[in-house]
């Protein structure tokens, strides 16, 4: 096996809950040392997929190969090399920060000297050096996440599985959290992270867009944006609502979204449609400060892909 071969290979993964299919023939691969995103709205099947990757849930079909081990047939075989952080905080709230770290270090049989050195380094890295004697239940949401990561890293896993780690975490903590992830990537850890925040998708090396258990798309954020059907036009205006009603339903306009400083519209052809839109807005008597082609965000692409039903 070469260093280039994917460390995780998922093929036709299926998970059903009774008659409901939560994950539907999902395939993707994760390269060594990258941050891979599972991106999709609530109920897309992110958690179900993560659980199957972590070997805590049995798939109803498909294959998962992690670092050359068949994870479906031998889930215990992958566990020493994988760290999983569930969506719901899974540490013991009645144990202290130190006790939690020690517990996970022991379960992965980390030698005590190594554990002490790593624990103090990990806690220092997340600014929690003084919190060792605090009960986990007393920590804030952001700190709980960092403790979760510290516990997950105390045995230096090859693969880190993070299920929606930033859901409900404030923006500053989110940024800190991503900084930690970049640091880990430097150290060669492969990270699979799931998120419902589409802006976080841009931070991943590669990602798969999930919707209703299916992959809409799987590639780098840049490539993904090239998949945008048509073009995105940003119209800056103080009165976004008026702009929206002026252009909605005009020929070639497939979608109109209110954004912070105006409106984003998806059109089939920007050269043709920009003058037409300018005219329509002028007729409606709305003041705009600019109309230009914009770089779509993952969110724009995701919505546009859903709209056109362009599933891969």
């Amino acid at each position: 096996m070469t260093a280039e071969s994917p460390i995780i290979q998922v093929d036709g993964l299926v998970k059903r809950f009774a008659a409901f299919t939560a994950v539907d023939r999902l395939s993707f691969s994760v390269n060594r040392g990258e941050i891979f995103g599972l991106v999709g709205p609530d109920g897309a099947g992110k958690t179900a997929t993560m659980r199957m990757l972590a070997g805590v849930m049995r798939p109803d079909g498909g294959a998962i190969v992690i670092d050359g081990v068949d994870a479906v047939a031998d889930p215990e075989g992958i566990k020493p090399h994988v760290s999983y952080m569930p969506q719901r905080f899974g540490l013991y709230e009645d144990l202290t920060v130190d006790e939690n770290i020690r517990f996970y270090a022991d379960l992965f049989e980390v030698p005590p000297a190594l554990r002490r050195e790593r624990a103090s380094r990990l806690l220092a890295a997340s600014g929690m050096s003084n919190f060792g004697k605090f009960r986990a239940g007393q920590l804030s949401g952001g700190m709980k996440q960092k403790l979760g990561v510290a516990c997950a890293l105390v045995h230096t896993p090859k693969i880190l599985l993070l299920d929606e780690p930033t859901t409900g975490v404030d923006p500053v903590s989110r940024r800190d959290f991503w900084r930690i992830l970049y640091g880990l990537r430097e150290d060669g850890v492969t990270i699979v992270i799931s998120t419902a925040y589409l802006d976080e998708a841009e931070r991943c090396n590669r990602l798969t867009l999930l919707h209703s258990g299916r992959a809409l798309y799987c590639d780098t954020p840049t490539e993904l944006k090239k998949r945008m059907p048509g073009a995105l036009i940003a119209i800056s205006s103080m009165d976004g609502r008026a702009v929206r009603s002026a252009i909605t339903g005009k020929p070639g306009v497939s979608q109109v979204l209110l954004v912070g400083d105006g409106v984003h519209a998806v059109v089939d052809n920007s050269d043709l449609r920009i003058p037409q839109l300018r005219e329509a807005i002028g007729l409606a008597g709305v003041q705009v400060s600019g109309i230009a082609v914009a770089v779509p965000s993952i969110e724009d692409v995701f919505v546009a892909l859903l709209e056109t039903g362009q599933a891969q």
Binding site: A54, L91, D94, E99
Partner: protein, 378 residues
């Protein structure tokens, strides 16, 4: 099984027990509350049971019988009623737990045939009190019965008759004399061990599910048998502490003789604890809610232990089919063992048979429990 992981689980569990003062208190106070409640209960709880009397004869004889009830500290006469409806409403309103009805022909039959009977009507909503009240009533009637016999003896100048003038049928098992206490208290140790064991371990796995810590636990390399042994170890230690408390209370407070060796006591107690801890753990694995698991644990351990182990109700007085069923009740063997250790000073060799049965039980429960736990969420 890896010692590091096993120890990690055991330490974690110990910390959680230690930091949950409520369950720790229950576990450590159990020997005291149960020993005193059940060891003393009969006299403490059940004095001055309210009784209604319905004297349909109103003769000297009937009044003298009812005087015995009045004089007894077990009963307090709540009311003297004159009609059945009055009596029924008194029971319905819980004015009394028991009613004594003296029939209109009480003296007549006593004179004619030398025997007679009274009727006891019991409020069965509280089985336990009703049973005990009935037992007391029988004891009092039999006391009266002796008086009548002595009376007759005095009048007739004859020999003491073997027949009892007023019928007594029930054995007075709650008898407060020292012998019965010696008999009951060692068996109580079994009840307490069963309670502590199954109750506490029934929470350990379901707690992980309810608090959301299971998902992370099963994603680690820990094995099911490490989880089981690691989780049971602290409770075994707690069981030993409780067993020591029981021993101290039984011998120093209740004055029950302890003729065996500590080694035999702790070795057999460990075996019994293994069974009940294992049952609690198994239930905890199968039933993912703490309340559900502890309820079923209570049902499966306490009920057979109190009713079918022979700790207070002698097995040889049960119907044959029930006697056969008691062979399945693991507590039965431990009750036999512990009574023999306390009262006869029996050693391991003398107890080989019940120990063997417990061993088989322990092995079966442990095997089932180790296999029941799956490192899966679905």
């Amino acid at each position: 099984m890896r010692f590091r992981r096993l120890r990690a689980i055991a330490l974690k569990e110990l910390l959680q027990i230690w930091r949950d003062p409520r369950s720790l208190m229950i576990a450590l106070l159990m020997p005291f509350t149960q020993m005193f409640l059940l060891g003393y209960g009969v006299t403490l709880d059940l004095k001055h049971i309210p009784v209604c009397t319905f004297d349909r004869e109103a003769s000297q004889n009937s009044q003298s019988l009812l005087k015995h009830f009045e004089a007894s500290s077990y009963f307090a006469i709540a009311r003297n009623v004159r009609t059945y409806p009055e009596l029924i409403s008194a029971i319905d309103r819980s004015d009394c737990k028991i009613a004594i009805v003296v029939p209109p022909d009480f003296s007549e039959r006593l004179n004619d045939t030398g025997t007679s009977s009274v009727q006891a009507i019991l409020d069965a909503t509280d089985d336990n009190t009703a049973n005990i009240a009935y037992g007391y009533a029988v004891a009092i009637v039999s006391g009266y019965s002796n008086d009548v016999a002595l009376d007759a003896l005095g009048r007739q100048g004859g020999e003491l008759q073997q027949i009892q003038p007023v019928a007594v049928q029930s054995r007075v098992w709650f008898n407060e004399d020292l012998d019965s206490r010696n008999f009951i208290i060692p068996g109580l140790v079994a009840v307490i061990m069963a309670l502590v064991g199954a109750q506490l371990t029934s929470l350990t796995i379901s707690r992980e599910w309810e608090r959301g810590t299971m998902e992370l636990l099963v994603s680690t390399p820990v094995t099911p048998s490490e989880v089981m042994v690691g989780k049971l170890a602290p409770y075994l230690a707690l069981g030993w502490i409780d067993a020591s408390f029981c021993l101290i209370i039984a011998t120093l407070w209740f004055g029950v003789p302890f003729r065996g060796t500590l080694f035999t006591l702790f070795a057999t107690t460990t075996l019994f604890l293994t069974v009940v801890l294992g049952i609690g753990y198994l239930l905890s694995v199968l039933i993912r809610s703490q309340i559900g698991a502890s309820q079923v644990a209570l049902l499966l351990t306490m009920l057979p232990t109190t009713l079918l182990s022979g700790y207070v109700f002698p097995i040889d007085q049960m119907p044959t089919i029930i006697q056969d069923i008691t062979y399945l009740v693991y507590s039965r063997y431990y009750v036999t063992i512990i009574k023999a250790i306390f009262l006869k000073g029996a050693g391991i060799a003398a107890l080989a048979v019940p120990i063997l049965f417990l061993l088989v039980y322990a092995a079966a429960v442990m095997t089932l429990a180790a296999r029941a736990f799956r490192k899966r969420l679905d």
